[in-house]
């Protein structure tokens, strides 16, 4: 055993353990006999262990009974009502105080997330509420946002930038679209309800998938009269015209349609 090995072994033991150690480790005993320096060090540590043992014995005391009485009085006076706050006291160990700090930080983050969630939820509810009232109005046939320029397609093109029935006719089959005119706008949220399920509650069928960015903006619902040969029902030989509502985007592309008659 080298001196370093001896020191590493001995330092893993406290002075009290070194003192009570009965040289059980033969290699350590041999080294101590051979190396005077390590022998002196071991002896000093053993003496220190002995001295600490004496001090430990002499201070082996307990608090007096009056301390217990005082503490019990404090217990009875406590009443165990809900404590005022969970604020860490100065006397709490540092590790506890630090982790309490992070704990409060986590609570604050959760509270902030809840507030943001409630705010967004309220906003979404408001949007969906307004869109449902749009839908209701549409079902009852009352256009909420009747386009004042709908009867004047050319004006609509110039002023609001909204697709005119003419442009809708271009993108749909120009032969089929004969009539237009019930123009009222659907809000973007109402259109959004058409897209995901392909068919919405009002019976609109999405005709194409489009990039949400491209589909942004207002759309216009145009009532059209289509020739009977264009509809599937016309395959049976019916030649009656079909009335359909067509949703036309700002770019003039048809987004969705529904058969009214």
């Amino acid at each position: 055993m080298t001196c370093r090995e001896f020191v590493e072994t001995a330092e893993s033991l406290t002075p009290l353990q070194l003192r009570t150690m009965q040289t059980g480790d033969e290699a350590m005993s041999v080294h101590v006999r051979e190396c005077a320096g390590c022998g002196r060090w071991l002896e000093s540590q053993r003496l220190l262990g002995g001295a600490l043992q004496v001090l430990r014995t002499h201070t082996e005391r307990e608090a007096g009974p009056h301390v217990e009485q005082a503490v019990l009085r404090a217990f009875r006076a406590q009443g165990f009502e809900p404590l005022a706050s969970a604020e860490p006291d100065r006397a709490a160990p540092a590790a506890w105080r630090l982790s309490r700090f992070f704990e409060f930080g986590a609570y604050a983050a959760v509270a902030a997330a809840l507030i943001v969630g409630v705010f967004l939820g309220a906003r979404m509810w408001r949007d969906s509420h307004s869109s449902s009232s749009h839908m209701q109005a549409q079902v009852t046939g009352i256009p909420l946002q009747a386009d004042p320029h709908a009867s004047n397609p050319g004006h609509a093109n110039e002023g609001s930038g909204i697709a005119s029935p003419d442009s809708a006719r271009k993108s749909a089959n120009p032969e089929m679209a004969k009539v237009a005119p019930v123009g009222f706008r659907r809000s973007q949220s109402a259109i959004r309800q058409v897209r995901p399920a392909n068919i919405d509650r009002q019976g609109f069928v999405a005709l194409m998938f489009c990039d949400p960015l491209m589909c942004s903006g207002d759309e216009q619902v145009i009532r059209m009269e289509l020739p009977g040969s264009a509809s599937s029902s016309a395959e049976g030989g019916s030649s009656q015209p079909v009335i359909a509502d067509v949703v036309v985007g700002e770019d003039g592309m048809v987004r969705a349609m529904r058969i009214v008659n």
Binding site: W41, E43, H58, E62, Q78, A91
Partner: protein, 200 residues
Amino acid sequence: MLNEQTDEQLLALALDGNEEAFTALYRRRQGPVYRFALRMSGSPQVAEEVTQDVFVFLLQRGRGFDPERGAVGAYLFGVARNYVRRAMEKSHSEAAMTSPAENEEEFLVTDSDPVEGIARSQTSKAVWKAVLSLPEHYREAVVLCDLQELSYADAAAALGCAIGTIRSRLHRAHEMLVRKLQNSAPSLAGFSGDAARCLS
């Protein structure tokens, strides 16, 4: 029945208003807390004040205790450590820290052999002086590990530091204690020689 409960269970019962549980917890833990404060401060008065403050703190703030962060015993040592420090700051009792227990006699365990008793008393006094003169961090390590016989892990939890830190502080404290005893009490057998280690 209550004696079989763990500290954590007793604390939970006590904080629900169970006086017997609180008394059991106090009787189980007051001794180590008192001795820690006594060995850190050198003053029985300070030790009693600290013991009382620690358990009143436990009553008032015990709900902040989290068993995942350590045992109740380590938590109490941590609280006691802060109260000892505060008491020392308040009373400026540096004198108390360097001259332990004026009424030394009351700390002596009665020995059957009076001569041996005096020798023990002298040894104890010299060592205690040396311990009290250590810097606070080293003193805490010696008191908790050597005198209170806490494991390194429990001492680390009480002091809020790593186990390696405890080891190094303890090692350094032992070297300082040996040097102090060589200087202050060379009459104590064995401490008069050169205890420098051989590192060849």
